[in-house]
């Protein structure tokens, strides 16, 4: 069913990775991306892979979950890789028949791209698996707070994000329930002809909109009743704190990044 989708799902836990400050995790994720896209030697990618693997193992989240997070993008990966193989004309020619020409350069680029993207998805899933959406938005608000000086609505943006994230599971649950209720009245939503299905979709979408508007209304009232008037002077329930772990993690990451750069430049 719908609720089995894992994208952005948080798995509570007590590992070192879970304990890191979400701000650290966001920055380290960005560093990981830089690391993965720096250099085009195999050794660079190897160091990036070792770093990702280490983080995954430290998080104690079943490897199965990472496989699941990579699965949805596999078709895109394969198609792009195929394009690369056929289009890039570089290095030795391995195979040539009429217009089709496969070169070592093309294979190289494709393989690198696949490994990079897989590591990228696994690495960023690690962020959403080990930090709850609410702490992530808190961290984003904190990280972007310098922009407030430029009158950029950082708080409003973060609030919108956390409300949206907060209601994703609710909406999924609601959709599930409405689908079940209409199926109980004989609607064919996951079976039947395309025409029937499209027609019956209305019976799901209308109630979903009605209830979303109702929820939005209720939430607005509830926020007003609690005197919400924006970020000005607002204190927080969850204070973000950095600890020794964060500095160690940052140091280790910088070391890996330095190793990648060094390998790229010197070897």
């Amino acid at each position: 069913m719908l609720r089995d989708i894992t994208l952005g799902q948080y798995f509570p836990g007590k590992s070192i990775i879970h304990k890191l400050d979400p701000r650290t995790k966001i920055i380290l994720t960005i560093l990981l991306i830089v690391m993965l896209f720096t250099g085009d030697k195999l050794i660079c990618l190897g160091i990036g892979a070792a770093y990702t693997l280490m983080a995954v193992l430290l998080s104690r989240i079943p490897v199965k979950m990472f496989v699941k997070s990579v699965k949805p993008i596999l078709p895109f990966l394969i198609i792009t890789a195929a394009f690369n193989i056929f289009i890039i004309d570089k290095g030795d020619v391995l195979f040539h028949w009429k217009a089709i020409k496969i070169t070592t350069g093309g294979i190289n680029v494709s393989v690198f791209m696949i490994i990079r993207i897989v590591l990228l998805v696994a690495g960023s899933s690690l962020l959403t698996y080990t930090a709850s959406p609410i702490t992530i938005t808190d961290a984003i608000e904190k990280l972007l707070s310098p922009l407030k000086k430029l009158h950029f609505p950082v708080h409003e943006l973060a609030m919108m994000m956390s409300i949206a994230l907060r209601f994703i599971p609710t909406l999924i649950e609601e959709t599930d329930k409405i689908i079940s209720a209409q199926k109980a009245r004989g609607a064919s939503i996951d079976s039947g002809t395309l025409r029937e299905r499209a027609g019956n979709l209305i019976s799901v979408i209308v109630p979903l909109f009605v209830s979303s508007f109702r929820r939005a209304d209720e939430l607005a009232t509830a926020m007003e009743c609690r005197c919400y008037n924006g970020g000005e002077g607002r204190t927080r329930l969850r204070q973000l704190r950095t600890s020794a772990c964060d500095y160690i993690a940052a140091a280790v990451t910088v070391m890996f990044l330095a190793a990648v750069i060094a390998a790229d430049k010197m070897l």
Partner: protein, 288 residues
């Protein structure tokens, strides 16, 4: 002959994930044709999960469900017919309303069954009458009705399919006492009129005590007991221990019993209590 039967029915949500939860755990029950069954249990005891198996909305993790002696999952293609034969009204069904008029919304189910116009019209007007909606309301938009009226529209939408078994998940939840009594008495009248098998889910005994033939009490996904109403109420103490509310009148008589005034019978409706007290007084020559 049992119309509904389950064999070792078990259902686990999100198996294999950290959120794994066995909501229904090896349940064996048999429900006979024409019975009025109350299904009770505190929140999270698995009532809603259990009943969604009866019309094939959920597929058992293990175990079987039989409708009229046939395994409903024997042929996957026939599952839609099962849904027409076993009507399920969800909790807060008013949130599933979507059509422009009350008439069209009630007609959604019958239309999916492939009935012809005349038949649909007949069923809709009949059902609307049975659930206490006026003819004038049928042409109105359902979104302008009151909460209680919307709920009736949603219930009528399932009743209009004329299912052999009608299951209602907490039909009275969130209504004011008058609205609650009205809905329950319409359901009861409908049951008496059609003689169909009816299951009412509730976490309040007060709601179903007076008219259920048998009561199924669920606790943590398992059957706590499934017996005639009066036998279930004979265990009122145990039942309040698993977090269920016993009717107030039963509580009064339990206290009387503890104080040494034992009237010797289980009481769960006010009317019965009055008769019992009058009987006892009469036999003692107090009134007469």
């Amino acid at each position: 002959m049992a119309i509904l039967k389950t064999e070792q029915l078990t259902y686990t949500y999100s198996p294999g994930s950290p959120f794994e939860k066995t909501a229904v755990d090896h349940v064996d029950i048999e429900i006979n044709k024409g019975e009025m069954i109350g299904v009770m249990g505190h929140t999270g005891s698995g009532k809603s999960t259990l009943i969604q198996h009866f019309n094939g909305l959920l597929r058992p993790t293990s175990g079987k469900v039989f409708l009229d002696g046939e395994d409903i999952w024997a042929d996957k293609k026939k599952i839609r017919d099962v849904r027409f034969r076993v009507g399920l009204v969800f909790q807060y069904p008013e949130y599933q309303i979507f059509e422009e008029t009350v008439f069209k919304d009630i007609a959604f189910g019958p239309k999916n069954m492939g009935l012809d116009e005349a038949d649909i019209k007949k069923r809709v007007t009949e059902t609307a009458y049975d659930i206490g909606l006026t003819e004038e309301m049928l042409s109105r938009s359902p979104f302008g009705l009151s909460g209680g009226q919307k709920r009736r529209v949603a219930i009528a939408g399932v009743m209009a399919m004329q299912p052999e078994v009608l299951i209602l998940d907490e039909p009275a939840a969130g209504l004011d006492p008058a609205g609650r009594d009205a809905i329950l008495s319409y359901i009861r009248k409908y049951h008496e009129k059609t003689g169909n098998t009816t299951l009412i889910v509730s976490h309040s005994m007060e709601d179903i005590a007076s008219f259920a033939d048998r009561i199924l009490v669920m606790n943590s996904g398992k059957i706590f007991c499934f017996d005639e109403t009066k036998k279930v109420f004979a265990r009122s103490e145990e039942i309040s221990q698993i977090g269920l509310d016993v009717p107030q009148i039963t509580k009064v008589f339990d206290i009387l019993k503890r104080k040494g005034i034992d009237l010797g019978r289980e009481v769960y409706t006010v009317g019965y209590a009055r008769d019992l007290i009058l009987d006892v007084l009469k036999s003692k020559g107090g009134i007469g």
